[in-house]
Symmetry: C2
């Protein structure tokens, strides 16, 4: 059961020879969530072997060009590849006119439906779910309406310790109730405790995406304890003033958030073209939060299943 | 005095890992003409070392995504780089709404003016000129309004053979008239012939761009005798029916045109993603027109100044 992030583009506003604009793929159990869609996204998807057909949901943080200009080509290519399945795009309300123009000017022959779900809200809310996972949006603090996304596995149903079935002569009905977390008091006085007889097959995994944003207090709550945090890091401490002016973050600020929110691992990206060497960012962040990794094009960050929860 | 074409993208509708969508730069005396602007064009310009500031004119053949989706990122980047000079975009009329949406949705803070010159016309006409060069548009035959462009140096002013100035005791006035091609009958009966006393410093060079188009009779006239012809070659003879259906050309058809129009050199591109190996195109075309070259990303085709004309 895969849960992994691939960073397709690590540039900020200005792409460079080595850096594509923002785009990311989160693979959750072989369902691909595309997060932001900068120019060249379709080429990067191809380069790193992602099937366009496995993408049914796209999450756009905000309507700045470096996060959306790849949508024109991607949607057109999906059409040329014969797509018929609906495509759902979660994006702020001002993405609506962009999509309308795109469809009117280039999409009159698309054979699939594109549904724009306008993301809004001043607190985290669930905007999408499957049987085993869910996605929440939460507000960021940028120059335009901008949202972060939290992807997480739902709490899985508990598994039964096989050897206890016989020991307690459990009925099917009892097994079902115990798996649902219910304790059972038998008529003979025996208490069957769910957390003794069953166990969590795995610890639900989570990933939060924060780009673009200036630091703000509430963000710590929104991303608390995630296994993997992607956070923009456009600037360094030495250019903190520019970061503040443009409502972006420095590597140190991203690391500070990761530390305070107690996340597992931090991936930083959205690098300013003024810094060619991304290890400058990594070094600054690691001073505060050692488990920091500078994204690069095609890098994959896997969250493995971790042993039985209790 | 440079005159050279660089092909930035050789894909047709579907880009591949190796092929970007259509975009080309023609360098005429260090003035850069951008011809079509597929997705990723700005990255390719950067990769091959072209300064965005040297681009003041963009020529768009037609409003299909694979020829225009790079315009969003390019225009935004020009703005971020502080552009203030006007930008002129020559494109069919239906490019107007695309540009309007772009500016409305992403360009409200652009500090430079973008002028769209609607290309139309059923015969070649001059749409742009400088002191030393000019650009003509001519209609192609595609599924939507589509235009080719002919770039050529103007006939340069004639130079005087220095040794004849003294021999004939030429006055400044006589020199000027002779350089302008005028013959002069002196009062003493001597006839000063311009084509004897002067010479063309160089033969004007020309480049024609044809993408996308089905073959048609008149095209031969439009590109007659150019030094360099770029012609789309989406398909091969074996897929000629698909070419006809989609109003494209095969490598053989491009070569046949090059042969009949007596061009110097043929560059083919806009390759279908179904053919990974572009030498298939080159081989087919060379059977008919040996001076054919399959474009590749970053390839440069130079037209050197050729010796004195007469």
């Amino acid at each position: 059961m895969i849960f992994s992030l691939t960073t397709l583009g690590t540039a900020s506003a200005l792409p460079t020879v080595d850096r594509f604009p923002s785009a990311h793929v989160l693979n959750v159990h072989e369902r691909l969530f595309l997060i932001d869609c900068g120019e060249g996204c379709q080429m990067q998807l191809r380069r790193y072997g992602f099937s366009f057909l496995k993408i049914n949901e796209i999450f756009i943080s905000h309507v700045h060009g470096d996060h959306v200009f790849g949508i024109y080509g991607l949607l057109s290519t999906m059409s040329l590849l014969g797509r018929s399945a609906d495509l759902f795009i979660y994006a702020p309300a001002d993405f609506g006119p962009v999509l309308d123009s795109l469809i009117q000017q280039f999409g009159t022959q698309f054979k699939y439906k594109i549904v724009h779900i306008a993301v809004s809200g001043r607190a985290p809310e669930v905007i999408f779910e499957t049987k085993s996972s869910e996605v929440l949006s939460f507000p960021l603090n940028h120059r335009t309406g901008c949202y972060g996304y939290l992807f997480r596995e739902k709490m899985p149903r508990r598994n039964i310790h096989k050897y206890l079935i016989e020991k307690h002569s459990l009925t099917l009905a009892e097994i079902a109730r115990l798996k649902d977390g219910e304790d059972i008091a038998r008529e003979d006085g025996e208490l069957l405790k769910s957390d003794v007889i069953t166990y969590l097959p795995y610890k639900p995994r989570s990933f939060a995406y924060c780009s673009d944003t200036a630091p703000f207090k509430k963000l710590r709550e929104y991303v608390e304890g995630v296994d993997l945090l992607y956070h923009e890091s456009t600037f360094l401490q030495e250019t903190e003033k520019v970061a503040a002016l443009t409502m972006h973050s420095t590597a140190g600020q991203a690391a500070q958030l990761a530390l305070e929110a107690g996340v597992g691992k931090l991936v930083i990206g959205h690098f300013s073209s003024r810094y060619k060497n991304s290890s400058l960012y990594e070094n600054e962040a690691r001073e505060i939060f050692p488990e920091t990794y500078a994204a690069r094009e095609g890098a994959r960050f896997e969250i493995p299943l971790s042993g039985h929860g209790s």
